[in-house]
Symmetry: C2
Subunit: 346 residues, 2 copies
């Protein structure tokens, strides 16, 4: 009673069953009955037998023959991060609409793993890839581009490498976030960011710098770099320093920094926004129950996801060599704590 899987029926099996050549079966099953003038009688019999034997064409044979897989690879830096999880979801939807399947993987911000995953995906014959590059992945990405593999970088890009990318306009996001605090009357504004060379981080920092300069606050520019591997510890130190310097407002360069920051502020029993105003980044469900008003610079994740697929697939189809680089604007969202909903906010 062991459930031996029976081999799937092939075109040859159908042909033998119907009593015709495999050619005819192929013609009929690909809707070319008229084009190759197959008689209705035979065509019907073929279709009937195909249904009865539950015929499903072999994807490998098809792809091998046609030289196309209709599959794209997507490697994000952490699929368990809601920001990327949402992007991945949208990518899948858009790809499917366009008749492509998407193969997903997560590099965990590890360049070796990224390189490894890419290799495996290319073995699976993906036609192109959407990649979130991580620190140290420059060579991997470069070889991808050199090998003419259609590539779209997501969320971050590598300035030296000429290839497609879609990301937030990080400079503008950093600028706008800072400007918002300035508009609210702040002058002593710090930024907390990771000590990473990734383009998105650099852009946000640059935006902060530019905004401060534009408003004549060059002397107030203070950037605290925290360590991603020891966020709690380095974050606490950074915030202690910021406060010691008399800062009353801070721009957090990522969502995780925002969470860390607010946690520590809570621990210090300081009030937001009275003691310190926080401008966060992204803003996930972590803040569903956060009980003070803060603002976030949020990214249009769906647009970012859609654009990346659009670019990749048009590249695949047109086989042209031009490059598309898109930086999409973020927007400031205000978080309204549940308790305040009934009160009047200023």
């Amino acid at each position: 009673m062991t459930a031996k899987r029976t081999k799937r029926a092939s075109i040859k099996d159908l042909a033998r069953e119907v009593g015709v050549s495999p050619t005819l079966v192929s013609f009929v099953l690909n809707g070319k009955q008229k084009q190759y003038r197959v008689s209705d009688q035979v065509a019907d019999r073929i279709r009937e037998v195909a249904k009865r034997m539950d015929y499903k064409p072999n994807g490998f044979a098809k792809s091998l023959r046609e030289g196309t897989s209709k599959t794209i690879g997507v490697i994000v830096s952490d699929i368990a991060n809601p920001f990327f999880a949402n992007i991945v979801k949208k990518i899948e939807t858009v790809a499917e609409e366009k008749g492509y399947m998407a193969l997903f993987a997560s590099s965990d911000e590890n360049s070796d793993k990224l390189s490894n995953l890419l290799g495996r995906m290319l073995c699976k014959e993906v036609e192109g890839v959407i990649v979130v590059p991580c620190e140290g992945s420059e060579d991997t990405i470069r070889s991808l581009v050199d090998r003419r593999i259609p590539t779209v970088l997501l969320d971050r890009h590598i300035p030296d490498i000429r290839t497609n990318y879609v990301s937030l306009d990080n400079r503008k996001a950093g600028y706008d976030a800072t400007e918002e605090l300035i508009r609210k009357g702040h002058r002593k504004i710090s930024m907390i960011c990771y000590d990473l060379k990734l383009s998105n981080m650099k852009g946000r920092i640059e935006g902060y710098r530019d905004a401060m300069k534009d408003y004549g606050l060059s002397d107030e520019i203070k950037i605290q770099y925290v360590n991603i591997g020891a966020l709690e510890k380095s974050g606490a130190k950074a915030i202690d320093k910021i406060i010691a310097e008399g800062c009353k407002a801070v721009v957090c360069a990522t969502n995780s920094i925002t969470v860390m920051c607010l946690r520590y502020i809570q621990k210090l029993k300081l009030n937001v926004p009275e003691d310190i105003t926080v401008m966060g980044f992204d803003g996930g469900s972590e803040f569903d129950f956060y009980n003070a008003p803060i603002s976030f610079m949020t990214q249009p994740t769906e647009t970012i996801a859609k654009k990346s697929v659009d670019i990749l697939i048009s590249q695949l189809q047109e086989n042209e060599g031009f490059i598309t680089q898109i930086e999409i604007e973020g927007a400031i969202t205000n978080h309204t704590p549940p308790q305040l909903l009934t009160r009047r906010l200023n």
Copy 2:
């Protein structure tokens, strides 16, 4: 200057270049040099040319020939849900360790989409699938099992269908969650759950019922069904009713219900746990800043993910017909609000 992608070198191209038969190239590149006694001289030349021409074997040809794809399909109900995002991440890791690639997709709890996705995955020649079945997907799953496609259901199962599954021990989870409240001295305990026929929901409800009965609280059993499509509205109504009935404790059957519940309680300006004690489910990052102590029944997501892959792959490799059904125990986790960390908790 258009970047025409050049066709990849095949084994034949290498053979021509080296001046030997394709057979030898294949032998060498598959590490069978000794087995088929290829001379070192020729082998070295082949390897050198392969490297120079950047030879990568064609995955389709290989899979077609070998009749195996080393790929599994994974369809969750919502990849943007952190619970599933984490599972997906772990599945990918484990699958890769075992030499398999995982193809992911998200059904959005839509049985048509699920069926569609499955069809496409099977065309891509996945060897087996891990599926989170959604409402109305019984027929789709049944046909999968009937067609002898190695299948593991995740998170939920379908009682009528004999197949592998891995899920939380939902009955025990519901039981333990309820029992915990009873131990704390509560007697008037309600449950809020979705009006769904999914096995996980039914299990949790059954557990709640059993616990109440076991502790002689049959008369206090009160189950409020809320509508997943109108969670806010039906949830508010449910909670109003619970409170009117004098309930001082509630078991929320899912994370989203827990969030809704706590939000509404906040809106009513009631205090947790003084006015009402909440036992949540799963407990995501939504509660990072929640400022009252609550408990959660949490799932061992990593174990669930790992087991599902283990089962699927052993099935694939042993080709045996037995069925494995695993229900893993959950655990109660206490959420300690950040503000209370410095105070003494009772």
